[in-house]
């Protein structure tokens, strides 16, 4: 599809993408410096203060023992959900439009998973003992508690992190080799190591393709299971408004939804600042917009079900929790979420909207704000409306430290991503070439590839 409209040649692809790695302007350095200093100031300093002072630095209180840290954890896990999953699904369905965007989408998965894992450490009361949640032989002769949904979480996330790291790395090997052949100096040595001696023989391509498809098939159920398991952290409790069977699909759909919106944001930024206009086109935004529309409808449906089942149960605790969520002190946040995640995405019905870049960017950011609100409400409204009304008195308001760490986690993600775009070819070189017509033998283009 892309090939028909664009006159890109094989050599252009190589040059453009190697240029994005090698040529670095002052703008990049300024952005990186800003991201790193923001990470330090907003994320690490408050966290160190919290380590010294105790979790009391956050605004959590007696029944509200979980707060924004856990909401951020779910949010980042959710954001990680679309990248690799979408890439796998589109790979298996042979969708050509995947090829220009999957690398950065997968990187998004990887980095948001890392940020999510760091949020767990921020959340814990005594994070210096976090290794106790791993099953390793130790002199205390203690295993972690295998019945705990939190332990399932540890397992699921480490598996997903391993799987998606291998997936993105393996898909990049031919590209590392291509960059290796076009760089000098320390970069050449680095890419020589990273490309694992790739020569591009038929056997190598065959094995890569086989292993890549194998991993894609493996990762799809894994990704679905990860967010189901995250939802069990809540659904396996007996807390009203959390103890719902709909939670697993609810979380998975929400995760893919916010992840797809995240991809739109990242695509916009890459296109604009890395000058990938030729590769990331209206077609991609059009398709992602359709996906967003479908996901928003699904998300709305599940959200309606969640409210309906709670109301239909007629149980007093359930009704109270529901009323508090919809019309309580956090009520406005709920309706903001409905506006951002259920109403505005309907604009994606119009092709003109889907193919305009700036409105899509604004929409994608709004969706993710709405999705963060969703996670905050799950954590924030249910715990303050449990069974005994005696504990209903306190309102949880996030503290400055919490808000700062939330902002800092975005900066941390940006830092990781900025480093990524200079090491990994952020658009797949070899897969973009697959969508282009091969150069005719004897043409100048053909000679350039020899």
């Amino acid at each position: 599809m892309q090939a028909k409209s664009s006159p890109i040649s094989y050599a252009d692809v190589n040059n453009d993408i190697v240029r994005s790695l090698v040529v670095t302007g002052p703008k990049y350095y300024i952005t990186l410096a800003a991201a790193i200093s923001l990470t330090l100031i907003c994320y690490f300093f408050p966290w160190f203060y919290q380590l010294y002072y105790g979790i009391g630095a956050a605004g959590m209180n007696h029944p509200q023992v979980w707060g924004t840290y856990l909401a951020s954890f779910i949010f980042w896990i959710g954001l990680s959900h679309s990248g690799t999953l979408l890439s796998c699904v589109l790979h298996l369905t042979n969708s050509a439009w995947r090829k220009a965007m999957y690398r950065s989408a997968e990187a998004m998965t990887l980095f948001s998973l890392m940020v999510a894992a760091s949020m767990v450490a921020v959340h814990l009361g005594r994070p210096w003992f976090i290794h106790w949640s791993l099953p390793y032989p130790n002199q205390m002769e203690m295993w972690p508690n295998f019945r705990s949904p939190l332990l399932f979480d540890v397992m699921a996330i480490t598996t997903y992190l391993t799987g998606s790291s291998i997936f993105i790395y393996m898909g990049s090997i031919p590209d590392f080799a291509a960059v290796r052949d076009r760089t000098t100096g320390w970069r050449h040595y680095m890419y020589r190591l990273l490309s694992l001696g790739w020569r591009g023989t038929d056997t190598e391509w065959h094995r890569l393709g086989w292993a890549y498809t194998f991993l894609a098939v493996l990762i799809i159920p894994l990704a679905v299971s990860v967010h189901s398991i995250v939802s069990w952290d809540f659904a396996l409790s007996v807390v009203p408004a959390l103890h719902l069977t709909i939670f697993a699909p609810y979380f998975v759909v929400g995760a893919i939804y916010s992840g797809t919106a995240g991809i739109v944001t990242v695509m916009f930024v890459l296109r604009k600042y890395m000058k990938f206009e030729k590769y990331i086109t209206e077609l991609h935004f059009d398709n992602l917009g359709k996906l967003l529309l479908a996901l928003s409808l699904l998300w709305t449906y599940i959200n309606m079900l969640e409210v309906f089942t709670g109301w239909y149960s007629g149980e007093s605790a359930e009704l109270e929790a529901l009323e508090y969520k919809l019309f309580g002190k956090y009520g406005p946040l709920y309706w903001e979420m409905i506006l951002f995640c259920a109403v505005t995405p309907l604009l994606c019905m119009f092709k003109r909207f889907r193919t305009s870049f700036v409105p899509m960017l604004i929409l994608s950011i709004a969706i993710n704000i709405g999705m963060y609100t969703e996670r905050f409400l799950i954590v924030g409204t249910s715990l303050s409306r449990k069974y005994l009304p005696d504990a209903w008195n306190s309102l949880y308001v996030p503290s400055v430290v919490e808000l700062s760490i939330l902002a800092g986690s975005v900066a941390l993600f940006c830092t990781l991503f900025l480093i990524f775009v200079k090491i990994f070819p952020s658009v797949s070189i070899y897969e973009v070439k697959e969508t282009l017509p091969a150069p005719e033998k004897g043409s100048p283009q053909w000679q350039a590839t020899q």
Partner: protein
């Protein structure tokens, strides 16, 4: 397959009702709401016995609490025809406790006395147990606490002072239970006698509304208290099998 069969067999046994009855003791508390006057002597006694810190105004304003035993107050009716009801609420030491399953590091577990024990040294502070607890009786140490002079002189040496980042809750005064078991062993007895051990709250209750004992012993006072038409457990429908039994208030006007 034998490992799996073994696992399944143990699982079935564990799920059988009365599994915990085969433990050494089944410590139980009964709270007679008809006798309770809401004087909060139990709350104070608990605070003194268990080194519970005083949080102070600033922390309370943030909605943080630290009292293993609390008196819940509920107002009934509209003014002027209004009634105050209260119920002491403490860890129910559930036999099927939601908090025990969720702790990823098994910092809270069921011990051989049927108590829901909390290991402070093992706790990593996920606070998930407090989320899972339907009774909201688990309290988290948001900060380190200090005892102004001379209060630090009266800390109980038998009880740990908990550091920041650790969850804590009522232990049924496990230090006293351990002491009673030790002295019973020293005397050559197999079991602790009824009434030999009392948690601080039971000891201090002026109206004797609180009774503590072993419900495995049919002769014990707590067994006879439980055998009462007024006996009920809070949130029984959640099937957590609590070890605290309440006796309903006798009230001619109550609906």
């Amino acid at each position: 397959m034998s490992f799996f069969d073994d696992f399944l067999a143990k699982w079935r046994e564990y799920r059988k009702p009365g599994y915990y009855e085969r433990f050494d003791y089944a410590w139980t508390m009964t709270i007679d709401l008809d006798r309770c006057t809401g004087c909060e002597a139990c709350v104070t006694a608990c605070q003194a016995e268990n080194n519970i810190p005083i949080l102070g105004e600033a922390e309370l304003a943030k909605g943080r609490e630290m009292q293993w035993m609390r008196i819940e107050r509920y107002w009934e009716g509209e003014y002027p025809d209004v009634k105050l009801r209260f119920i002491p609420m403490l860890c129910q030491h559930c036999d099927a406790a939601p908090c025990e399953t969720v702790c990823p590091v098994s910092a809270t577990y069921h011990n051989q006395d049927g108590l829901n024990a909390q290991v402070y040294n093992r706790c990593i502070g996920t606070r998930s147990c407090a989320v899972y607890c339907p009774y909201d009786v688990r309290y988290f140490n948001y900060t380190d606490h200090q005892w102004d002079k001379p209060l630090d002189e009266q800390l109980n040496p038998d009880v740990t002072v908990r550091e920041k980042g650790v969850m804590e809750k009522c232990t049924f005064c496990i230090q006293r239970i351990r002491q009673a078991k030790d002295s019973a062993k020293d005397d050559g007895r197999r079991r602790v006698r009824d009434g030999e051990v009392q948690p601080a709250c039971v000891q201090s209750c002026p109206a004797e509304a609180l009774v503590f004992g072993d419900r495995q012993d049919p002769e014990s006072r707590v067994s006879s208290m439980m055998d009462n038409a007024r006996a009920y457990r809070v949130l029984e429908e959640l099937n957590t099998l609590p070890s605290v039994v309440y006796l309903k208030k006798v009230d001619g006007n109550a609906g």
